[in-house]
Symmetry: C2
Subunit: 182 residues, 2 copies
Amino acid sequence: MPGVGEKTATRLVYWLLRAPEGTGREIADALIALENGVKECSVCCDLTPRDPCRICADPNRDPGAVCVVEQPQDVLAFERSGEFRGGYHVLHGAISPLDGVGPDDLRIRALLERLRGETVTEVILATDPDVEGDATALYIARLLKPIQVRVTRLAHGLSVGTEIEYVDALTLARALQNRREL
Amino acid sequence: MPGVGEKTATRLVYWLLRAPEGTGREIADALIALENGVKECSVCCDLTPRDPCRICADPNRDPGAVCVVEQPQDVLAFERSGEFRGGYHVLHGAISPLDGVGPDDLRIRALLERLRGETVTEVILATDPDVEGDATALYIARLLKPIQVRVTRLAHGLSVGTEIEYVDALTLARALQNRREL
């Protein structure tokens, strides 16, 4: 489990043994309910207790824009920013030959089918700005070429509030390449 | 001194008292030489042992682009990135009313004079992406409006190699606003 090593695991076990009887049972039930209750949204593939998910079912969201992300957590990050009012598509990973993850392991086919049916005018490829994320974005962009849809990628550049002195060389180079007219 | 608190200062003093005689004198001489030997470049205002500085004197640099930065350390950051082949202009700070720093405390007048004389076609405002840096960039952009010169600002967006899940909301919003066609 992420963040739970041997020490934490030991502490948790001793806590459980001293907890009121039935606590273990309750946690077990909650885990089973979690596993049974959460499934993938049939539209965007995000994890959700009901299908379609809250965002896909919301009539106030713009159906013209789809933001393609790697993980369900990325949807939360975008929702926190409050900047995006369209829908999402969760790939559940990124193409990574070293880890044995190919295009067929991701929800790419579901994305293509969705684009065929819906009135999507822009696909924003918001995979992580690393090697796997960039490769995945380029792969999907190539697949989308025959379709009449605008394909964009999130901007690379400086984080808000950072100091240029401490920005890594690669990011600074991208910020310079992508500079805009003022 | 930055990074030197009471504890470190005490340790340094005791180290100096145990060091071979003359060490204090040597350090003192080095400090005086540093202060006397380093001055501001008459072209770009960067700190330099000779005038004009190494970059301003380099005939291989592009005289058509000037990258305006807050601090001499920022010049080092850009040089590390290897992405920029033009000249720099060091403001020695940013406009910050709370700290009592106004436009006249910066090397803005020197920049304007320089632009009048030289054949600069683009000014890249590379002040920090924070409140003071943004205000300084806007102030200078307004001053440059009457001059025939392209004024750009470094891109805001995702740092290379980061994960979207952990990007702050403001930076994610900027990365979305500045997204580009793929």
